[in-house]
């Protein structure tokens, strides 16, 4: 073990605390884990309610069965999301006491509001999940409605905190201390609207494509029954419809970053020197002030950011040397951005393929390649989400709060953070593996209940499993008190 701290000392630049590198890695790892679960609390619960609504309105037993099963999946994922989010809250203090100690009075407030939404979400998720048997169908449906709504509120608040780190506002400082706080200024900071909206839509994209991918896989295995089709259609159409809006919002976000966070924008474009007629370089890496191996689109970046080739973009040379990100961080940001945009267009294309087929024939595209692509779309959406966050977080470096607090001054100076990080990785690996295992067991059990071949057409074990359904007298419903 003693070799590790020595390695750290060599890796970090002079004067940085030894805790800086492990703390950043740990924050990135745990946030990256948590963020994958977020779409299931925010958006998957919405899909579940869509199925539930359809089931009650049209007496559609398949839709009700989907809703009930989805609620059980979301129960598992919600629990993992809640515990991993709790670790994040601890980490804000344990890893970044400099941030919380100095700016908690402002930066902490959005989290306090978030607390209310978490409460509501946890409460109504529980009522919904455990209310299938004993609540009347509509009372039960309405008990679920607060869940995606508080998901929206929770996303807005926590992203408000993140946006504040990018464009801090609403505080009065004296001698570096926060002496007054304007809560509205903190919440509705410059980056709030586009970041919150972009993340909110991302949740729908990810949840929709991941769920659709599960049913696409089933259809590829020959389960072409109505149950699988319905599960696919509800989730896939939601994601495909959100996709063009998301790209529009991303485009707005990019222009806002251009206008207000020039250093991050220079990193996104991997632009060494300020100038006009800046090309949009696809791929490529920055190496000693030169961009290599990329494919340049002449004047692309200038046109995209200011609608004219003469738009002037500040490069990395405009960033004071002391706070200029090193090449390798610039490359991470630049390539992550390319991954996000590239996968976004791939997903858009997939949605368009579907839209075309549906418009012509009211059916899925006939090609098996469509299902194969749809099966992978979930993973691509997750990659897109993660790379977007890498752009935001790494693109902010070396600042934690842009212009006000360097990451180096935010980090803790106590303890062996490598050990803490190792513990986090071990526990999260176990929890992640267990979650996958549990979901697979659930799926196998359901497939068995459906009689191997699939959901069937309302026959056999299917109907027995339908909530609010007939057949199971002991679970007859009682109205709400």
């Amino acid at each position: 073990m003693s070799a590790v701290p020595e390695l750290v000392r060599q890796l970090v630049t002079d004067g940085d605390p030894a805790q800086l590198l492990p703390a950043r890695e740990q924050m990135a790892f745990t946030l990256g884990f948590h963020i994958v679960l977020v779409p299931f609390g925010v958006a998957f619960t919405f899909l579940m309610l869509v199925a539930n609504y359809r089931g009650i309105r049209r007496g559609d037993a398949h839709a009700l069965l989907l809703a009930e099963r989805w609620s059980k999946v979301s129960a598992v994922l919600f629990a993992v999301g809640a515990v991993s989010g709790t670790v994040l809250s601890f980490e804000l203090g344990l890893l970044w006491p400099g941030l919380m100690g100095r700016f908690g009075a402002a930066y902490g407030l959005p989290f306090a509001v978030e607390g209310i939404f978490f409460f509501l979400e946890a409460i109504f998720v529980a009522i919904y999940i455990y209310g299938w048997r004993r609540l009347s169908p509509w009372a039960h449906f309405w008990s679920g409605v607060p869940v995606p709504l508080s998901g929206l509120g929770g996303t807005a608040s926590v992203v408000a905190a993140n946006a504040w780190m990018n464009q801090p506002g609403g505080i009065t400082l004296r001698d570096g201390r926060v002496v007054d706080v304007d809560p509205m200024g903190v919440f509705l900071n410059g980056a709030f609207w586009y970041e919150a909206l972009h993340m909110f839509l991302a949740a729908y994209v990810v949840a929709g494509f991941v769920v659709a991918g599960v049913y696409a896989a089933g259809m590829l295995k020959g389960r072409l029954d109505r149950y699988h089709r319905l599960g696919f259609l509800i989730s896939f159409t939601t994601a495909a419809l959100v996709m063009p809006v998301q790209i529009f919002v991303g485009d707005v976000a990019a222009r806002e970053v251009f206008a207000h966070e020039p250093a991050k924008f220079a990193a996104i474009e991997a632009l060494p020197t300020t100038g006009t007629n800046v090309p949009e370089v696809l791929g490529g890496v920055l190496d000693h002030g030169q961009v290599r191996y990329g494919i340049p689109i002449p004047s692309g970046a200038s046109i995209l950011s200011g609608f004219s080739p003469s738009t002037r973009i500040s490069g990395l040379d405009a960033v004071p040397a002391a706070v200029r990100p090193p090449d390798h961080l610039v490359n991470i940001v630049h390539l992550s951005f390319d991954v996000m945009v590239g996968s976004a267009f791939a997903l858009l294309g997939l949605g368009a393929w579907f839209g075309w087929a549906w418009w012509r024939r009211r059916d899925l595209p006939a090609s098996r390649w469509f299902l194969r692509a749809a099966m992978w779309a979930g993973a691509i959406a997750v990659v897109c989400l993660e790379s977007g966050w890498v752009v935001t977080e790494v693109g902010r470096q070396p600042w934690t709060v842009v212009g006000l607090l360097l990451t180096r001054d935010a980090v803790t100076t106590e303890g062996n953070m490598w050990a803490f990080f190792a513990g986090a990785v071990a526990i999260y690996a176990a929890v992640g593996a267990a979650a996958v295992l549990v979901l697979r067991i659930m799926r196998r059990r359901w497939a068995a209940a459906d009689g191997g071949g699939g959901g069937g057409d309302g026959g056999g074990g299917d109907v027995v499993g339908v909530p609010y359904g007939p057949g199971d007298e002991s679970s007859s419903r009682t109205a709400l008190p």
């Binding site: 629990a79 203090g93 509001v113 607390g115 209310i116 109504f124 303890g415 549990v438």
Partner: protein, 331 residues
Amino acid sequence: MSTVVAGGLLLGVLAYAVFGGADFGAGFWDLTAGGADRGRAARARIDHSLAPVWEANHTWLIYCLVVFWSAFPAAFAAVMTTMYLPLGLAAFGIVLRGSGFAFRKAVLRTSQQRLGGAAFAASSVITPFFFGAVGGGIASGRVPAGGHGDPVHSWLNPMSVLTGGLAVAVCAYLAAVLLAADARREGDGPLEAWFRRRAWLAAWFSGAMALGGLVGARADAPRLFGRLFGEALPLTALSVLSGGAALLLVRRASPRVVRYLAGGAVGALVLAWGSGQYPYLLGDHTTIESAAAPQSSLATLTAVFGLAVLLVVPSLALLYVLQQRAHLEDT
């Protein structure tokens, strides 16, 4: 204003101790319920009582954290830079507990169930212990105002170990009383007796830990000790009396009354600690007022409290009512 917000924080700690504490305690009995067959009835009772509510109960912890760091940022950083070991371990314990519980609900096979259950149960002991130890360390002034206190002795000292043990015992007591009341409501006599015996055991143990803690406080936190028998005496007494009453009445009174008494005992204990420390936030060196964030932050937090009272409290009440009337059950 700072006192109002500190009161809001204390209420959060109270709620977490009462609701989260019962969950942790149930985990403790789960751990000690014996082999797969012998412990089945007790475990099923625990699962049934906890499954719908544990997540909401757990959210009180988040509430405490966010209020603490927004209202008393520097003191929060001081606690975090001193107590990082127990707090980090407690956080890991929460991961194991929550996920172990959620997974066990979803999995049928006993061997897998047992694994999830073991994680759940073990973390039900370590998490309250560390939280209790941190509380003891703060009360005895072991967190310096500027933070960076002794990373080991701040929580590994006689007083903190006793408060940690007290937290574990109190959780176990609370859970046993509530589960006994639940079992009686369901007409399960043997299980009721099983939990009742354990409630008595935990009560004696809690009493011993509390006495030990008081001896520790007399040496380490004389001011707190004085106030527990001075200004805070009514609360201290209330805690002991209602705790005892819950034990005596668990066979006779309505389960709801038993619940209130047992919860009241734990709540009064937390309030006694809080008023014993008042007006200090950390030990007897950092006052609530001097540690507070600017007025505007405190005002915002007060508004958040108002929202919580309007939105969260009725929702929680709905959840508990549905749960108590058996409208929530596993499918």
